[in-house]
């Protein structure tokens, strides 16, 4: 059952004229074929100049986020048949600067992640770094944050959020979910110190609970939930 679909791919090369344009390709498809495989077919058999970022092909590394038929999705995890269209429109992720073709620049995104201090902060630093002990944690305590630890940093939520679109000082769903992930970890001792910086400016409070972030997250992280829980703490405790 060999069929064909049309891929409309956004092309952009700062080296050429730096203009964005769509290019069309015909791609034969099989059952179970992903959009990433379709793009690789284009790259390997039709036009090797197409740039794509990808690695694990199993929705775990977070490389291959792009706009597919208008929504941010992982190319390696989107089956062509599930789109139910004969034309697959592929564009680079929104809210990220484009490097080339479908490849976007994640520097600011990663910097925002870093800015929330995404690591366990302890008072007993000596024990943390040098001892050979184990902090105990119950399954209940684990479940309070583990959902948010599923984040693969793919940036889909960041591309979906209507606030990020215009406000670059907003930290965005990914970083905020990570701020909550560490805040909620029973082993973390930073407490209010994590909340304070979030109560100022537009780093957290700009979230309007549009929840598009949770809608597109491929890993079930639900950043919107994390942000509301975090906001409660910021409003009441910081």
């Amino acid at each position: 059952m060999l069929e064909e679909v049309k891929f409309k791919v956004l092309r952009y090369d700062p080296d050429k004229d730096g203009k964005k344009r769509f290019q069309e390709f015909r791609v034969p498809i099989r059952k179970g074929m992903t959009v990433l495989q379709g793009l690789l077919h284009i790259k390997e058999k039709i036009d090797p100049t197409l740039s794509i970022r990808f690695s694990c092909r199993m929705a775990t590394c977070g490389s291959c986020g792009m706009m597919i038929n208008g929504l941010p999705r992982l190319a390696c995890y989107t089956l062509i048949e599930e789109l139910k269209t004969r034309t697959v429109v592929v564009e680079p992720l929104r809210n990220f600067p484009i490097v080339k073709d479908l490849v976007t620049d994640f520097e600011e995104f990663f910097n925002k992640h870093r800015s929330v201090k995404p690591y366990l902060i302890r008072i007993d630093t000596y024990v943390q770094e040098k001892s050979n002990t184990m902090y105990l944690q119950s399954d209940e305590e684990l479940v309070r944050y583990v959902q948010f630890a599923y984040c693969i940093k793919c940036g889909l939520c960041y591309a979906a959020c209507p606030v990020v679109a215009t406000d670059k000082t907003f930290l965005g769903p990914q970083a905020l979910a990570q701020a909550y992930r560490y805040y909620a970890d029973s082993r973390d001792e930073a407490g209010v110190d994590r909340l304070k910086p979030l109560g100022d400016g537009s780093s957290l409070l700009r979230c309007h609970f549009a929840a598009s972030c949770s809608q597109v997250c491929p890993k079930g992280v639900d950043p919107a939930l994390a942000i509301q829980l975090l906001r409660k703490e910021v409003l009441l405790r910081s």
């Binding site: 090369d13 080296d15 059952k31 179970g32 992903t34 790259k43 390997e44 058999k45 090797p48 100049t49 740039s51 794509i52 970022r53 990808f54 690695s55 694990c56 092909r57 199993m58 929705a59 775990t60 590394c61 977070g62 490389s63 995890y77 089956l79 490097v99 080339k100 073709d101 620049d105 994640f106 992640h113 870093r114 201090k117 995404p118 690591y119 366990l120 024990v127 943390q128 770094e129 001892s131 050979n132 002990t133 184990m134 902090y135 105990l136 944690q137 119950s138 399954d139 684990l142 944050y145 583990v146 630890a149 599923y150 984040c151 693969i152 940093k153 990570q178 970890d185 082993r187 973390d188």
Partner: protein
């Protein structure tokens, strides 16, 4: 040509081994050293995130487990080729690493008493694989990445691929790196370097590896004069999802999953009556291969044969809490729910036991150059690695090499800076021979031919005749005119990167075939139809392959045997 960069310690690769090394180097030389992490992918996109099942360590000696047992399991699993002093170091260091990760925030699964939980893994005689759902590698990577952000003296160079190592008078001095985003080749000087570029990856078409796993590190070290050790030992994981090759973790069997053939028989009874599905991987993969060869396989939609992994006995609860990830892959990509249906699986290339030859501390023969993780060969895996030992190995030797490299620099070891003449060769190759030149043959077709060739001639079972054909094919591929890059853009030119990778893949495949041809015995993952027995008299030895202009030169060294004399392996 890019700018010159100077770091104290360079880490190549940001998988588990690379990140662990970076943190250890950074904390050893806090305020004194700059640690540069150069990695071909973005940091968190490294292949290690795909590791699913578990990380082995002896945690509860008071509850029955023991170092001795872990050592023995590992040595026996390796078919007695592992260096036993290294295994001992490995087993003793392993718990520290598990606990260190815990104190850095790793969401390990817990027992009711709040301590870290452990599960069974193939070839381990005690449940000693620590786990976090079935996303162990991913959570470990997140923990290490996040923790590394604490250190101001770690500087990341994401999407900078090392393309050539520079060694002068047996001393490491630096390397050339291609910055993908801008297409520039930078000269990087470093006083010490830890190579952590991961496994040789996609030399086979049906593999559990991600696309970015290619043998860059192997080839660069090999070309710089470091021998590659035991490259003939390639592990085939019994259970990869058909047709994508996505791994169904061994933990699925550790939790109680069983393998059945087309007739519905639990065929492992015949091959490993005691351990059944929890035997070591080489034995199970061979069993599966035999089953399929005997006509007990199931014909898949593409005509590819497969068998079934049946998890229905585990119950919904266990699958949902402990194997949620593979359930998701099965549902999303194969359209089946393992709670109700068996999973179609087939063995796939999964791990390279061999690698860059190092001593027990991960140091190579080149001063200032260490290797850690899958790219290195210490060797604790010998002829066959036990499941869940590899992530531990990455952590243990990541820490050891990171520290050693930092101390080496702190001790004031001198090195000369990279200069223009060092990088002439690689720049000429990239700019004059490749960029903008149309290749006469599609490089991706060459890669496909290479992979098909490896599948056909150097798979689970091997024999002289087909391997010779395979070697011939590879030598032909080497000559073919695929060297050329249509894409002339500077920005994010993956076409260029791919062509460089394919060159390295061909060279590495050659080493594997030559090493395999020369080992005329069957040991661990290396099973020869023409020499079906293990031969301790002639081949209780590590293979060393040295680079020469006309192909690898093979030498042998004996493994370190301290306590355990080789006996027959039975499971």
């Amino acid at each position: 040509m890019g700018a010159d960069i100077d770091v104290d310690v360079a880490i190549l690769g940001s998988g588990l081994a690379g990140l662990r090394a970076a943190i250890e180097a950074a904390r050893t030389g806090r305020d004194k050293l700059v640690v540069g992490v150069f990695t071909k992918t973005q940091v968190m996109r490294s292949h290690s995130v795909s590791a699913e099942g578990g990380t082995a360590a002896v945690l509860y000696t008071d509850e029955g487990d023991s170092f001795q047992s872990h050592i023995y399991d590992t040595v026996k699993g390796s078919d007695f080729l592992a260096d036993q002093d290294a295994v001992e170091l490995f087993v003793k260091k392993a718990p520290e690493e598990i606990l260190q990760l815990e104190r850095w925030g790793m969401p390990w699964a817990r027992r009711p008493d709040g301590k870290i939980a452990q599960r069974f893994f193939g070839g381990q005689s005690y449940p000693r694989a620590c786990f976090a759902e079935d996303k162990v590698g991913f959570f470990e990577m997140s923990t290490l990445y996040d923790t590394s952000l604490k250190y101001d003296n770690i500087v990341f160079y994401p999407e900078w691929a090392a393309v050539d190592l520079f060694v002068e008078n047996g001393k490491f001095k630096g390397f050339a790196a291609l910055e993908l985003k801008t297409g520039k080749i930078h000269k990087v000087s470093a006083k010490a370097c830890v190579l952590a570029t991961g496994g040789a990856g996609r030399l086979y078409s049906f593999a559990t590896f991600g696309y970015s796993s290619t043998p860059d590190g192997y080839y660069m070290a090999y070309k710089a004069g470091v021998p590659l050790k035991d490259m003939e030992f390639v592990q085939f994981h019994p259970t990869a999802l058909v047709p994508s090759g996505i791994l169904i973790t061994e933990a699925a069997r550790g939790e109680g999953g069983i393998l059945v053939n087309a007739k519905g028989e639990r065929f492992m009874k015949k091959y490993a009556p005691e351990k059944m599905e929890l035997g070591p991987r080489d034995i199970i993969s061979r069993a599966m291969y035999n089953e399929m060869a005997e006509g007990n396989g199931v014909e898949g939609p593409d005509g590819v044969k497969h068998l079934y992994l049946d998890l229905r006995g585990l119950g919904e609860e266990k699958i949902k809490t402990r194997l949620a990830g593979i359930r998701e892959y099965c549902m999303h990509l194969a359209g089946i729910d393992p709670i109700d249906e068996p999973i179609p699986v087939r063995p796939a290339a999964h791990y390279y036991m061999g690698g860059v030859d190092t001593n027990i501390y991960g140091a190579t023969q080149v001063a200032g150059l260490w290797a850690a993780g899958e790219v290195g060969c210490v060797s604790i895996n010998g002829a066959n690695r036990l499941g869940s030992n590899s992530t531990t190995e990455c952590l243990v030797w990541g820490a050891i090499t990171g520290k050693a490299a930092a101390e080496y620099v702190l001790a004031g070891h001198n090195h000369s800076s990279v200069n223009n003449s060092d990088s002439i060769a690689i720049e000429k190759h990239v700019y004059d021979e490749l960029l903008g030149k149309a290749p006469r043959e599609n490089p991706y077709d060459i890669r496909d031919q290479l992979q098909a060739n490896m599948e056909r001639t150097c798979h689970i079972y091997r024999e002289e005749k087909t391997m010779l054909e395979g070697l011939q094919t590879i030598r032909n591929l080497k000559q073919k005119m695929f060297r050329g890059v249509v894409d002339s853009s500077r920005y994010y030119n993956t076409n260029l990167m791919n062509v460089l990778e394919i060159e390295m893949m061909i060279e590495t495949a050659e080493v594997i075939l030559v090493s395999a041809l020369n080992r005329r015995e069957s040991r661990g993952a290396h099973a020869r139809l023409d020499y079906p027995k293990r031969d301790d008299v002639n081949f209780l030895k590590h293979t060393l392959a040295y680079y020469t202009e006309d192909g690898p030169r093979i030498e042998y060294v004996s493994p370190v045997i301290t306590e355990y004399v080789p006996t027959e392996r039975r499971y």
